[in-house]
């Protein structure tokens, strides 16, 4: 649920990076923060949560135009997956406008991906959002590790595991080097803004 701020003529929306611990959510955001400095507004907030960090910063996307004459400001978040962080998760996921699910390509993390996606569905449901309706992009991260001989799942297998019902756009990525990070975000922004356009048109 984006916030329309009439005073600043700004629409504030929320994109959240979700995924199992160490799948590369924070690496994605760190890369965006560095590579798109001009579009970042303010500092990056980094909170040490057990097993994972929680990141947040404001992002002003480029070339997306205006919605109803308003600029768009995107809040980018990662959310801690651990069960205990329910208050943080609730604040971050409540009213989320777009999601990136960062899946870990390592074979040994197969189960973790599936559990995390199920958690996401349940958490969204608790806060009144349907995973099939919210703009969602999947990212298969750590594809570069294949070169080092580490066993990865094929993208086909991952797709079967995670995307059989969701039918979300998929991007392969290597967040460490930044490959695929921009594409993932751009696609998620596109879907999110389209969805907002629809919402605001309906509201008229």
């Amino acid at each position: 649920m984006a916030i329309l701020n009439l005073k600043n003529r700004e629409i504030e929306c929320k994109i959240v990076y979700y995924g199992p611990g160490r799948s590369g959510k924070t690496t994605n955001l760190e890369h965006i923060f560095k590579a798109f400095q001009k579009h970042v507004k303010g500092e990056m907030v980094s909170i040490d949560t057990e097993g994972d960090r929680t990141l947040f910063f404001d992002f002003l996307p480029f070339g997306v135009g205006k919605i109803k004459g308003c600029d768009v400001r995107v809040q980018l978040y990662t959310v801690p997956g651990q069960v205990q962080y329910s208050s943080t998760r609730k604040l971050v996921l409540k009213g989320v406008d777009g999601l990136v699910f960062v899946a870990d390509s390592l074979e040994v993390r197969r189960k973790k991906n599936m559990i995390s996606l199920k958690d996401l569905q349940q958490n969204l449901k608790d806060y009144g959002t349907n995973i099939f309706e919210v703009p969602l992009v999947l990212q298969f991260n750590k594809r570069d590790l294949a070169e080092q001989g580490i066993p990865l799942m094929s993208t086909e297998d991952m797709e079967r595991d995670l995307n059989r019902q969701l039918k979300a756009p998929i991007f392969s990525a290597s967040a460490v080097s930044g490959d695929g990070v921009g594409q993932t975000l751009t696609e998620c922004l596109k879907l999110t803004l389209q969805s907002l356009q629809r919402q605001f048109n309906w509201a008229e």
């Binding site: 916030i3 701020n5 005073k7 600043n8 504030e12 303010g42 500092e43 907030v45 909170i47 040490d48 949560t49 057990e50 929680t54 947040f56 809040q75 801690p80 205990q84 962080y85 329910s86 208050s87 943080t88 609730k90 604040l91 409540k94």
Partner: protein, 395 residues
């Protein structure tokens, strides 16, 4: 000063994190006040152009105070537009404060200001035998007229002796012990914020203590101002007083039944032979009544049989207490009435309104009673369950 309240509501609907975000994206300037029934003083957050500049909560100020306010998950808030001349003590960004505050709440670094909690016995006592452990909310020291210290093993109250004090545990852990034909039985443990002694004894003056209370390790307790409790209690309507006394009696009954179940003397067949259901377990019955004639039994139906939880008579209440959950009728127990049973229904709204008038301390005492009723009931059921298992082991 001009207090213009421009936004107000309930924290359970809009959390502190949500409110700060909202005020932040509006770039508002003013004072956010938060009230919790577990705290005497409201928490204050001074906001300049959408960013928190300073805060106070009890004796804390600045960021520390602001973080602690994330633990106030129940309560009311109001934001008044006002010019704030506070020096900006807090320099951290809004989102960092919010995300950090919530993390501290989830990590247990910030204390949750909620109702009485039931938890596992603390490890510090050296014995975790699964006894229920009840803690209370923050103690309002203005009600404490005297403090007393006890050492490990000291008896704070002796079952059967007369006494009229109500104590609140300030520090340490105490154990509630009942005499039974099979020897003394520890029923539960109480920690900081929990109350010792019944409302009834302090109000009707010197009744026999229904249980002994022992100190586990060093314990600091506060004696509550019984004059003040009495005055407050006298200020509510007779019906409200009947409910409060009824809760007290209910706890005594439930405890007696727990002991009877423990000594396998809680036979129910003869007792409820001639009784008819007045409220059925699981029914969505919102009524609250006072028995005017006859008797009633509170019975819980479980997988291992019907368990008698309490016997009630004229003057006791039955039904759903509007401001509490005692874990009995109508959801988790039935009311079986004698043939001559009669009861008059009370006005729920009136009781609620009277309850709201009481101070946080008196409401905490009442809530503590309700938790004890609910916990003791579960103990009774556990006794019954273990007997059922014993029997099936033997056969």
């Amino acid at each position: 000063m001009n207090h213009r309240i421009v936004l107000a509501g309930n924290l359970e609907f809009l959390s502190l994190g949500d409110i700060l975000q909202l005020l932040g994206s509006n770039g508002s300037t003013g004072i956010l006040r938060i009230r919790s029934k577990y705290m005497e003083e409201p928490g204050l957050i001074y906001i300049v152009d959408g960013d928190p500049a300073n805060a106070s909560s009890g004796s804390l100020t600045g960021l520390e105070a602001l973080h602690s306010l994330f633990g106030w998950i129940e309560g009311e808030f109001e934001f008044s537009k006002d010019s704030v001349r506070e020096e900006p003590v807090i320099k951290k960004s809004r989102m960092e404060i919010i995300l950090d505050g919530l993390r501290m709440l989830d990590d247990g670094e910030v204390e949750k200001m909620g109702p009485v909690s039931v938890a596992k016995s603390p490890d510090s006592t050296g014995k975790d035998d699964g006894l229920p452990f009840i803690k209370g909310p923050l103690v309002d020291y203005s009600y404490v007229v005297d403090e007393e210290s006890f050492s490990d093993g000291d008896k704070i109250t002796q079952e059967g002796k007369h006494g009229e004090w109500v104590w609140v545990v300030l520090e340490g852990v105490i154990e509630v012990v009942k005499e039974t034909p099979k020897g003394p039985l520890a029923i539960l443990r109480l920690g900081a914020g929990a109350f010792i002694g019944s409302v009834a004894s302090s109000l009707t003056g010197g009744k026999a203590r229904s249980a002994s209370v022992l100190a586990l390790g060093d314990v600091q307790v506060g004696v509550l101002d019984s004059q003040r409790l009495f005055t407050e209690y006298s200020s509510v309507s007779e019906e409200s007083r009947e409910i409060i006394l009824g809760l007290d009696k209910r706890l005594k009954e439930v405890t007696e039944r727990a002991i009877a179940t423990y000594t396998k003397q809680n036979s129910i067949e003869d007792l409820i032979k001639d009784r008819t259901p007045f409220i059925k377990q699981g029914e969505n019955d919102e009524r609250i009544l006072i028995i005017t004639q006859g008797e009633a039994s509170i019975v819980r139906n479980t997988d291992y049989g019907d368990i008698l939880l309490a016997n009630l008579k004229e003057g006791d209440f039955v039904g759903r207490v509007p401001f509490l959950n005692i874990g009995h009728e109508p959801h988790s127990a039935s009311v079986l009435a004698s043939e001559d049973f009669e009861a008059k229904e009370l006005d729920r709204d009136h009781l609620l309104e009277q309850h709201e008038r009481l101070s946080a301390t008196v409401r905490n005492i009442i809530e503590h009673l309700a938790i004890c009723v609910s916990v003791t009931t579960n103990i009774t059921c556990d006794f019954r369950k273990s007997f059922a298992n014993e029997k099936s082991d033997q056969s």
